[in-house]
């Protein structure tokens, strides 16, 4: 079986870890200063595939560290904690095997902190549980406070640091240094891909490399995986092969797509994201409507952006209504153009669309008013919408203060309707 390329081409030296030059330097200074007053722990945080683990591995390998790893595989093993203790304290073995240095790596501490011990049977191997059921992470952390060797943690969801109380020790500055990695630039990713392609004797155009590099938004690992997926066993890769790549599944499809569209550097890249998304356009539009006006951009920019989005909806409506589906492309173009107008303040915390939230919350109430509007619109020879907008208010008012009117309602429309009317 062919090795996985991310493994096969994993950096062996620090210099081969791409991107984040300053952070790498910070890490080296922290590790070499260990035992000289610097914090014994170091937390490396950054989005997936930016090289957190690779950085530690490459550093350890290059500098002759013996690396003890705590990860999803051995977490919860009773021997794991013993192994940690041994790695922390047992200097006897060190003396025998020469001048070996040790380092402990706790990989993906955010994931570990939310894993329930002993339940690895679920689909992705882990089950997320409430804090209080999860003992082992805190035990681990507490044990590690007495360490005599450097301890490195990696973490990809920085919010977890503030959400999960078990991780509170990691926020103590004297105990734990903090190094952040950022997304790797797409031209850097392109270089990595090019190097691998050359090593695999794979003929691949710059255009395809660029597309691959851009499609993963700074995730080197994902880009290398994609390259292997379309390139393994091939001699030539063309842009047609890109179509074979499936989209990475994420928790909320609408969320992901909208973030992509909002953050895309150009209309074209945004359009690519939009058209490759499997979400329906109404959901995506709802996410856009909710979040574009919430940007911290100047109000003039927000206005322009909302206006474009409104234009976009107009084309969507026309396309559907007049069955002129050729107009759909204008809807998409303008939807992608809209966030471009927000300028630098495009990065934002996305909110779930209010229209979807309210729709599900007020379903019962809407069912009630729709039923009433239906009944009274027949009687008043009017549309349910008109009844909803004006008559229902009057009728409710009349019913509340007037016995005779309530009696009349009951006779005319039945007990049920008159009660429904008063049940607000």
């Amino acid at each position: 079986m062919e090795r996985i390329w991310t493994d096969k081409y994993a950096p062996q030296k620090l210099i081969e870890v791409e991107g984040n030059r300053k952070s790498k330097e910070d890490f080296v200074s922290w590790a070499t200063a260990f035992g000289k007053g610097s914090p014994p722990w170091c937390l490396i945080s950054g989005p997936r595939g930016t090289g957190k683990t690779s950085l530690v591995h490459a550093f350890a390998q290059e500098n002759g560290y013996d690396l003890f790893e705590v990860n999803r595989e051995n977490l919860g093993d009773s021997v794991m904690l013993d192994g940690v203790r041994e790695a922390m304290f047992n200097t006897a073995t060190l003396a025998q095997s020469g001048p070996t240095k040790r380092m402990i790596l706790v990989d993906e501490i955010d994931v570990l902190a939310s894993v329930k011990i002993g339940s690895r049977s679920s689909e992705n191997g882990y089950e997320h549980v409430a804090d209080d059921e999860n003992v082992s992470t805190s035990v681990l952390l507490k044990t590690l406070t007495d360490t005599r060797v450097p301890v490195v943690f990696t973490l990809s969801d920085e919010d977890e640091l503030y959400r999960n109380k078990k991780l509170i020790l990691l926020k103590e500055k004297k105990l734990c240094a903090h190094i952040k990695l950022t997304r790797v630039r797409s031209d850097t990713i392109r270089l990595v891909l090019k190097r691998i392609a050359r090593a695999e004797r794979l003929e691949i155009s710059d255009e395809v490399l660029t597309k691959l590099a851009e499609s993963t938004e700074g995730d080197v690992r994902a880009a290398v995986n994609d390259l292997q997926a379309i390139g393994a066993g091939e001699e030539v890769v063309t842009s047609a092969d890109l179509g074979a790549l499936g989209r990475r599944q994420t928790a909320a499809g609408g969320y992901k797509t909208v973030l992509d569209v909002i953050l895309s550097p150009s209309i074209q890249t945004a359009l690519d994201k939009l058209t490759s998304s499997t979400e329906d356009s109404e959901t995506i539009f709802a996410w856009m409507v909710e979040n574009v006006p919430g940007s911290r951009s100047p109000s003039a920019a927000i206005y322009e952006s909302c206006n474009e989005l409104a234009e976009s909806s107009l084309f969507g409506f026309r396309a559907k209504r007049y069955r002129m589906y050729g107009l759909q492309k204008y809807m998409n173009e303008l939807m992608c153009y809209s966030p471009q107008l927000l300028g630098e303040h495009r990065y934002m915390r996305l909110n779930f669309p209010s229209r979807l939230r309210y729709l599900s919350r007020s379903r019962a109430e809407r069912a009630r008013t729709n039923l009433l509007a239906g009944v009274f619109s027949k009687y008043l020879h009017s549309s349910p919408r008109a009844v909803l907008n004006s008559d229902l208010q009057l009728i409710t008012g009349l019913a509340q203060g007037n016995d005779a009117f309530r009696e009349w309602l009951r006779r005319k429309f039945g007990e049920e309707i008159s009660e429904l009317l008063l049940s607000t």
Binding site: P293, C306, S313, L314, Y358, Y379
Partner: protein
């Protein structure tokens, strides 16, 4: 429904005969011709709300069908799901039950016809053609430009216009007198102004006022209109004028999704709110200019939330400059 007294005034005082309808005299005259000859083409009634479109359709049908009205007259709403399927099935049923009452045709009123998709309208066009000997249609809509040409060309188009202030106030005065309510001219004028000549809405306002007291004057009308106006709408505009877009957006979402207010209704209330606001004429004009554009785009089919959000953002910008 029995012949017992109606308690909702829009029904109680709905004119039963074409002769009693106020406004749109030329149209009523033509309809009376139809009634006299007991024959009518397919009709399209277009015009703003509260000017008598449905009333005219009802009265016309009653006069043509006479005692057979009940069995041969049907109202349907085109904005309901499956409306075109229902229309077709109903008309087919008609075809089977022909001859009932010895009448030459039945009358089907299709309200909110401008809400039908193009596809549904195409289907309707065929139905109108095939069954025209059995069933005559009266299509009712606010915007005739949303009705496809082939359907329009099969109908006689009647464009209803706003009822004059004199006629509306006269009618309100008649109702007030019949209900032994003391209403002065200024009060009735105020009711007319608030509803932009929508007679139906005027009658609703009059009845709402009568619930509280039998004496109606200008002050009471203004108080009522002020209080019945959705408070959060007032706050929405206020926040937006102060440049607090987030706040004002939240209010908008509540109005749209919790209070289920129709976007047209929000625009309508915004209009009144701006016209009556204490601000310079220049500012008013700029806001109305923008609001007019919003209303137009909504009619064209733009997404209500984002279109109104754009307005709220713009209103803040206008005030600042």
């Amino acid at each position: 429904m029995s012949s017992e007294e109606e308690l909702i005034w829009t029904e109680k005082y709905r004119p039963a005969k074409l002769d009693d309808i106020v406004g749109n005299d030329a149209i009523i005259l033509r309809l009376k011709q139809f009634a006299r000859t007991k024959n009518m083409p397919h009709c399209l009634f277009a015009g703003p709300p509260g000017v008598g479109k449905t009333t005219a359709a009802l009265a016309l049908a009653k006069e043509i069908l006479g005692e057979h009205f009940r069995a041969n007259y049907l109202e349907m709403n085109a904005s309901m799901d499956n409306s075109i399927k229902n229309v077709r099935e109903t008309v087919k049923d008609y075809a089977r039950s022909m001859g009932f009452g010895g009448l030459p045709f039945k009358i089907l009123v299709l309200d909110e016809a401008d809400n039908m998709s193009t596809e549904a309208q195409q289907a309707l066009r065929r139905t109108m053609e095939i069954y025209s000997s059995i069933c005559r249609f009266i299509l009712i809509c606010n915007y005739s430009n949303r009705i496809i040409e082939p359907v329009q060309s099969r109908c006689v188009v009647f464009r209803f216009s706003r009822i004059s202030k004199q006629d509306v106030v006269g009618r309100l005065g008649f109702i007030a007198k019949s209900e032994s309510i003391v209403a002065d001219g200024e009060g009735l004028d105020a009711i007319y102004e608030e509803s932009e000549g929508d007679l139906r809405s005027c009658v609703n306002t009059l009845q709402s006022l009568a619930v509280v007291g039998k004496k109606i004057d200008k002050k009471r009308v203004e108080e009522f209109v002020g209080s019945s106006k959705t408070l959060s709408l007032h706050e929405m505009l206020k926040s937006s004028l102060q440049g607090e877009l987030e706040n004002s957006r939240k209010k908008l979402q509540e109005l749209l999704y919790i209070n289920a207010l129709a976007p047209e209704e929000i625009v309508r209330q915004l209009y009144r709110e701006i016209v009556r606001a204490d601000m310079s004429d220049g500012l008013k004009a700029a806001l109305l200019d923008e609001l007019g554009e919003v209303e137009f785009r909504l009619i064209e089919g733009a997404d209500a939330e984002i279109q109104l959000t754009a307005f709220l953002a713009k209103a803040g910008l206008i005030t600042k400059s």
